[in-house]
């Protein structure tokens, strides 16, 4: 059976209320399309995990999808505050959310440990900080070999990881370039993986450049061909970050009514990503296209 499906179907099939959901992507390749679909399907009580909640979790929190957020830096990158997140933490609007926070290193070490199927990861941070006082998951052990006091954080094993990539074949062998962030760890750590890509290509295209494949097909559950899934974040070589929107969101997110209006207009009233992109319009989309700048091919050799 083909794994290729729609985002609507993939979210319906794999994400249950109450699940621990990891949306991968550090600034790059953030799957807003999946976030919007979860909002549309009114998923509830999710434990949302990623180092930087970014606008995608800000919107999901505002829409009432989140019970808890696990993170390491909750701001609007390069702009300022993450206001819906703050409203939930400071005033319980629209609902109280639990938070569990780490440093970046601790957060990516958790998902790395999950991918390695290890129970925890040691790392040399956290010792001189108040963070362990407010997060009991940051612990310290004595190294059995050197006697050093070292910080440990538990593995993170999401129920579902959602990853966006530049391209894959129909089976989900995914190639990513540019900032690779936490994409690979997120996929390997999760029970289920939803992969979306800017374009599905022939298997042969993937096989001609196997070093670029970060995620193999057999750990992927659903493949969605979803151009512009990462907007307003970006995809290296495909489109730039829509910084105007990150600035706009700073204004929208100041007022719950404006957030409501945004969600109504751009999420609930939109059927899918295709409609969202059409709504963005050619002018906005064309402005985000970079000039082409190809890498040079390498010779893998053909051996007889």
């Amino acid at each position: 059976m083909s794994k290729v499906t729609t985002m609507e179907e993939a979210i319906k099939r794999h994400v249950r209320d109450g699940d621990t959901v990891y949306i991968a992507g550090f600034t790059h390749l953030i799957n807003f399309s999946a976030g919007h679909e979860m909002i549309r399907q009114r998923k509830r009580n999710l434990v949302l995990c990623r180092p930087t909640p970014d606008l995608v979790f800000d919107q999901m929190i505002a829409a009432g999808c989140a019970r808890k957020v696990v993170f390491s830096w909750a701001g609007n990158p390069g702009v300022g505050s993450l206001r819906c997140f703050r409203r939930a933490v400071e005033h319980g609007i629209p609902n109280r959310i639990e938070i569990e926070e780490y440093t970046h290193f601790s957060m990516v070490a958790r998902i790395y440990a999950g991918a390695l199927n290890l129970p925890f990861m040691p790392l040399r941070t956290n010792i001189c900080s108040d963070l362990p006082k407010v997060n009991r998951n940051i612990k310290f052990i004595t190294c059995p070999f050197t006697g050093e006091k070292i910080s440990v954080v538990p593995a993170l094993k999401p129920d579902v990881s959602i990853v966006h990539a530049q391209r894959s074949d129909e089976n989900g062998n995914a190639q990513i370039w540019g900032i690779i962030g936490d994409q690979r760890e997120a996929a390997f750590a999760a029970e289920k993986v939803i992969l979306s890509v800017e374009e599905i290509v022939e298997e042969n295209v993937i096989r001609r450049d196997p070093n670029r494949t970060l995620i193999p097909d057999f750990i992927v559950d659903s493949v969605v061909e979803e151009p512009w899934a990462a907007h307003p974040s970006y995809v290296q070589g495909y489109y730039d970050r829509d910084n105007d929107f990150y600035l706009e969101w700073d204004k929208i997110s100041r007022e719950p009514e404006l957030v409501e209006k945004y969600l109504e207009e751009w999420v609930y009233s939109v059927e899918n990503r295709k409609e969202y992109v059409e709504k963005l319009g050619a002018g906005r989309v064309l402005k985000l296209l970079p000039k082409r700048f190809y890498s040079l091919p390498v010779d893998y050799g053909f051996y007889r």
Binding site: G75, G78, E90, S129, L131, I180
Partner: protein, 247 residues
């Protein structure tokens, strides 16, 4: 050439960087300082971003630490786990740049909450990589506006350790902390056991600095006046931020 105090702040930060060093860059003012140093006196500065980009040569001013322009033409891209472990944890980062909502006289930084953690008055973004950088980079440079509400006697939450806390680490980043503000430069002084005013910008008075500091700031016996930015420093800096986003 006329210049602003913020411009001198970036120039002063740039002068702290040495040719051949590796520096973990933040977006905004640190990014300007690093790019300025690279173009003036440190052409072999290796810029590392916590997003996993090594040896960046950004063609435009990056708007975030994950901007696509830092990838194109860089030397290498690795995962986030790798940048924090292969580079930072392995002491391959000479200088880390930090900022903060609250900074105390030891260079301890709060970027987590104003008020109590359980019921915060203001929920700030949190550590990000800052706590990790403060534990593991060899030297720390903090860039901050010089304001009483930022340079405080007591921080509400210890997100990232300053110099005394760093001393307690069994495996530590060696080297000190400097705080480059919009009025002058503070550095750690062994004798006083805290940050002291090391250098003051032209036209700024010690009184003005003391008024804008939340603790009784000690003044170095060797207090200097920071040299004004050169024409080259200023014109290069302005060309890096033509739309005046940060300066």
């Amino acid at each position: 050439m006329k210049y602003s105090r913020n411009e001198l702040m970036v120039v002063a930060a740039a002068r702290e960087l040495k040719n051949g060093e590796t520096v973990l860059v933040g977006v905004g003012l640190p990014n300007l300082a690093c790019n300025l140093a690279k173009r003036i006196h440190a052409p072999n500065l290796t810029m590392i971003y916590e997003s996993g980009v090594i040896g960046a040569e950004p063609s435009r001013l990056p708007l975030s630490i994950g901007d696509p322009c830092i990838v194109t033409n860089s030397k290498s891209v690795c995962s986030m786990f790798e940048v924090f472990s292969y580079y930072l944890q392995s002491h391959r980062v000479d200088v880390g740049f930090l900022g903060g909502a609250q900074i105390d006289k030891y260079g301890n930084i709060n970027t987590t909450v104003i008020g109590s953690y359980a019921a915060p008055k203001i929920r700030l973004p949190g550590s990000g990589g800052a706590c990790d950088i403060a534990h593991l980079a060899k030297r720390i440079i903090i860039i901050t506006p010089h304001q009483k509400r930022r340079l405080v006697d007591k921080i509400d939450f210890l997100t990232s350790p300053g110099v005394l806390e760093r001393e307690k680490l069994e495996v530590k980043g060696k080297g000190g902390i400097k705080v480059i503000t919009s009025l002058g430069v503070l550095s750690f002084n062994e004798k006083h056991g805290e940050l002291v005013l090391e250098s003051i910008y032209p036209g700024v008075t010690v009184e003005e600095i003391k008024e804008n500091t939340g603790w009784n700031l000690k003044i170095s016996e060797l207090l200097k006046v920071t040299p004004e930015p050169t024409t080259l420093e200023l014109s290069t800096l302005r060309s890096l931020d033509p739309s005046k986003i940060y300066i």
